[in-house]
């Protein structure tokens, strides 16, 4: 049974508050620049960006659910479609396409043609290992964790390193159903 097509994010995008795209890009650039100055190690910066993204993601998911009114997704395929078409549109103003499904349906790639975080950005030679948009992978991981899916999100292709598009690989590790949190005492 084919998954139901998710509602387009355009309607919601028109309703949420927006900030100036350049302000957003420049602010993000300043954050990364500052992290590089403070931490100096590119690996550390990557980890820190991922952690920041995770903290954002765990809060963002509620806003997303409240504004977009999607019902819960039946399976991971639908989840990926919803992230790409509704979620990214709502928060970044761009949509992504979902491809490269593996045989079990647990691993896919989100391809972003256009990424507002990297406008005007070039990586210098000293920062070649840097995943500039690592915050996005943290956000997706954090958000999915709050809806009981443990995932691993990595960058496969990055335009700042010379590839032709941004490709994020999202792999579902497991679904964690909720359990009764109280022990049966008293």
């Amino acid at each position: 049974m084919a998954p139901v097509a998710p509602r387009s994010g355009d309607a919601i995008f028109a309703n949420v508050e927006r900030v100036n795209a350049e302000l957003f890009t420049l602010t993000y650039g300043a954050i990364v620049r500052q992290l590089l100055t403070d931490l100096e190690e590119v690996e550390e910066v990557n980890k820190q960006l991922d952690q920041m993204g995770y903290n954002i993601g765990i809060r963002l998911i509620d806003e997303f659910l409240a504004k977009s009114n999607v019902s819960s997704c039946v399976d991971f395929r639908e989840t990926a479609e919803v992230i790409a078409k509704v979620g990214l549109k709502m928060f970044l103003g761009v949509t992504a396409s979902v491809t490269n499904w593996d045989a079990d349906g647990t691993c896919c790639s989100l391809i972003l043609e256009d990424n507002p975080l990297v406008d005007f950005v070039e990586l210098p030679d000293t920062c070649q290992g840097l995943y500039y948009c690592n915050i996005l992978s943290g956000v997706i991981r954090g958000a999915l964790e709050m809806v009981s899916m443990k995932t691993e999100v990595t960058w496969v292709r990055d335009m700042l390193r010379g590839d032709d598009a941004f490709e994020l690989q999202v792999k579902l590790l497991k679904q964690v159903p909720e359990e009764y949190p109280y022990k049966d005492d008293e």
């Binding site: 509620d62 659910l65 409240a66 039946v74 109280y182």
Partner: protein, 159 residues
């Protein structure tokens, strides 16, 4: 969990009576059973202390959800009663009514549960619960000083 005074949240549902607020109590839980918010406006009888009251409420909802998911006549059989379900999957109830009160419930896929206990004649409160969820997002989630998973302590001023 603490009771705290200060300004109230007025859920402003489409009230069936002319009088403004006919809500009695509100609870907000997160997915781990932590009661993030509890307010009461009209509760004549209190039998348990706050901690046990919250546990009881959470346990009640948890069990009712399992029950409704299991009894769903439209879905294929999904495991036995008591098997943990993902929040949002399987059907879930949205209200129940007794002769003295009506309890309305909403759960988001991220596990946030909002419960409103009101007068039994109250109409369908799903819109009001969604409104409250939006408020929660705006004022709680977006507050940088709030740690997710802890009870809400700051005053919520709704203009």
């Amino acid at each position: 969990m603490q009771f705290f005074g200060g300004s109230e949240i007025s859920p402003s549902p489409p009230a069936p009576t002319a009088a403004g607020n006919n809500g009695n109590m509100i609870y907000v839980f997160n997915r781990n059973g932590v009661c993030l918010l509890y307010r009461e406006w009209n509760r004549p009888l209190r039998t348990l202390n706050a901690q046990q009251d919250h546990k009881l409420m959470f346990g009640l909802l948890f069990s009712l959800k399992s029950l409704t998911a299991k009894m769903d006549p439209t879905s294929v059989d999904k495991g036995n009663l008591g098997v943990p379900q993902l929040p949002g999957q399987g059907c879930s109830f949205h209200s129940f009514r007794t002769n003295t009160y009506k309890l309305s419930f909403m759960e988001s896929p991220s596990g946030i549960k909002i419960i409103l206990v009101t007068h039994p004649r109250t109409g369908d409160l799903r819109e009001a619960l969604k409104f409250i969820y939006n408020l929660y997002v705006e004022y709680v989630m977006k507050n940088p000083l709030y740690t997710p998973g802890t009870p809400i302590r700051f005053k919520l001023q709704i203009a």
